[in-house]
């Protein structure tokens, strides 16, 4: 059996450092999710307004954010706004802002889709039964929308966690960066460290995302 470089993980504090790096990535995604979900719901509700100007502006903004690779958004935000406005932005703050903008755009699209998926006869039947507009929303439309929305927004969380691996590229010290440092430091003693360490990160990300997507799938099945 070839040396898989797994022994590096048990040297010193390496495993703790890797977990710390993963926590940085998770923290960025959790903060962004916590802010972008309410923001996305707000934007999604605004998309249902009839005002054509608001709608057009929102639409262009959201489509632009959604069509650009997240890496490009990170670069544009990190390098360009710091240059244009002269502020000093840490990589972590920049990535949180970008993920909020992106997450809100994705979320608003999910909200819009969920609202549009409610058939028209639901509104009409409610009206025929004498519900007021507010009652129709609270008792009929919103509960159904939530059921469709919740699994999708939980999925958005895993997408967010997966995307945070990109923050390495704007110099945030997260799990991949820590891995590179560990591999560099142990180059002489265990030249095969890259295999073991990257495999570990692969499994770590899987263990972070898998339970969340299982929950989403469970809810989707239960509430279909």
């Amino acid at each position: 059996m070839q040396n898989l470089g797994l022994e590096v993980l048990f040297k010193g504090k390496n495993m703790i450092r890797l977990l710390g790096g993963l926590w940085v990535a998770l923290k960025i995604s959790l903060i962004s999710v916590a802010i972008s979900i309410p923001l996305g719901i707000l934007l999604g509700a605004m998309m249902t307004w009839k005002n054509p100007i608001v709608k057009a502006i929102l639409r262009i903004y959201l489509e632009f954010i959604r069509i650009m690779p997240q890496m490009v958004l990170l670069f544009v935000f990190y390098f360009e706004t710091t240059k244009a406005f002269g502020w000093d932005l840490s990589g972590e703050t920049a990535s949180i802002i970008v993920f909020i903008l992106w997450g809100a755009a994705e979320m608003s699209d999910l909200v819009r889709g969920a609202f549009e998926s409610i058939p028209k006869h639901q509104y009409e039947s409610a009206e025929a039964l004498g519900f007021t507009r507010a009652q129709t929303l609270t008792y009929i439309i919103i509960p159904q929308t939530l059921r469709r929305l919740l699994p999708l927004s939980i999925n958005l969380i895993t997408r967010m966690i997966k995307t945070t691996s990109l923050v390495l590229m704007i110099g945030v010290v997260e799990v991949l960066k820590v891995a590179q440092q560990i591999i560099e430091a142990n180059r002489m003693t265990s030249p095969n460290a890259a295999f073991g360490v990257y495999l570990t990160i692969f499994i770590m990300y899987f263990l972070a995302c898998w339970p969340i997507s299982m929950l989403a799938r469970y809810l989707e099945k239960k509430w279909r």
Binding site: I67, M68, F79, L166, L168, P191, Y198, I201, F206
Partner: protein, 219 residues
């Protein structure tokens, strides 16, 4: 904005865009094949293979492409599997995309109610005929929106390729910024080129979606 610089950089970006599209299309092609195989395995509930496909789908859906590429490119050579950056990029994209495509196809197949199959059988159609004339046409139109969303998603994901030293758009932009410090121009070109690649695909997607809405049974 320095337009002469932009004119200077343009050929470099063009080359990078061609590479991005080429690798993206190849990766998506293999992803579709993997996706079709997995979807068929899951639809017919083939034992053993079904478990393997399910495991693969979970594994690839719950890990980021960047980590997959790092593992393939830097990890695998340590156990004797050494591949070139472009093969690594394509296989990473296919590994990631296969599961997304499988989910898209499977949801299309599963949306066809059993009554359709049963009716086809009672009309005397064979298994193959049912698949070819009844199930596939309907499943296709149902899975098109998810399929197009996956294509866009995978094209976007190619931006990660720069991490394994492929000279794609992202790499070119980073490289030029490092060399000349013309950040604004480089990033502007980067955004423009990604729009050129992704906008037509996105428009095609929404066009197809609108056209196929009427093909849904009972709509």
């Amino acid at each position: 904005m320095n337009w002469t610089a932009i004119a200077d950089y343009l050929p470099l970006y063009e080359k990078a865009a061609v590479l991005t599209v080429k690798l993206g299309v190849l990766g998506i092609f293999f992803a579709i094949i993997i996706g079709l195989i997995c979807a068929v395995i899951q639809y017919y509930h083939i034992p053993v293979l079904k478990t393997i496909a399910g495991f693969y789908i979970e594994l690839s859906r719950n890990t980021p492409l960047l980590i997959q590429l790092f593992f393939i490119y830097y990890g695998l050579p340590k156990v004797g599997i050494s591949i070139s950056p472009s093969v690594c990029g394509v296989s990473g994209l296919a590994f990631l995309g296969g599961s997304y495509m499988a989910e898209a196809f499977r949801s299309g197949l599963e949306a066809i109610e059993p009554i359709q199959t049963e009716s086809a059988y009672s009309l005397g159609m064979s298994r193959m005929q049912t698949m070819r004339y009844v199930i596939l046409p309907q499943a296709f139109s149902i899975s098109v929106p998810a399929f197009m969303a996956n294509v866009i998603f995978l094209l976007k994901e190619t931006s990660v390729f720069s991490a394994v030293s492929l000279m794609d758009l992202m790499f070119t932009a980073k490289d030029l910024i490092g060399l000349y410090y013309k950040t604004t121009e480089c990033l502007f070109l980067l955004v423009v080129f990604y729009l050129i690649i992704l906008l037509p695909v996105s428009l095609l997607g929404s066009l197809l979606e609108r056209r196929l809405k009427y093909a849904k049974p009972g709509a």
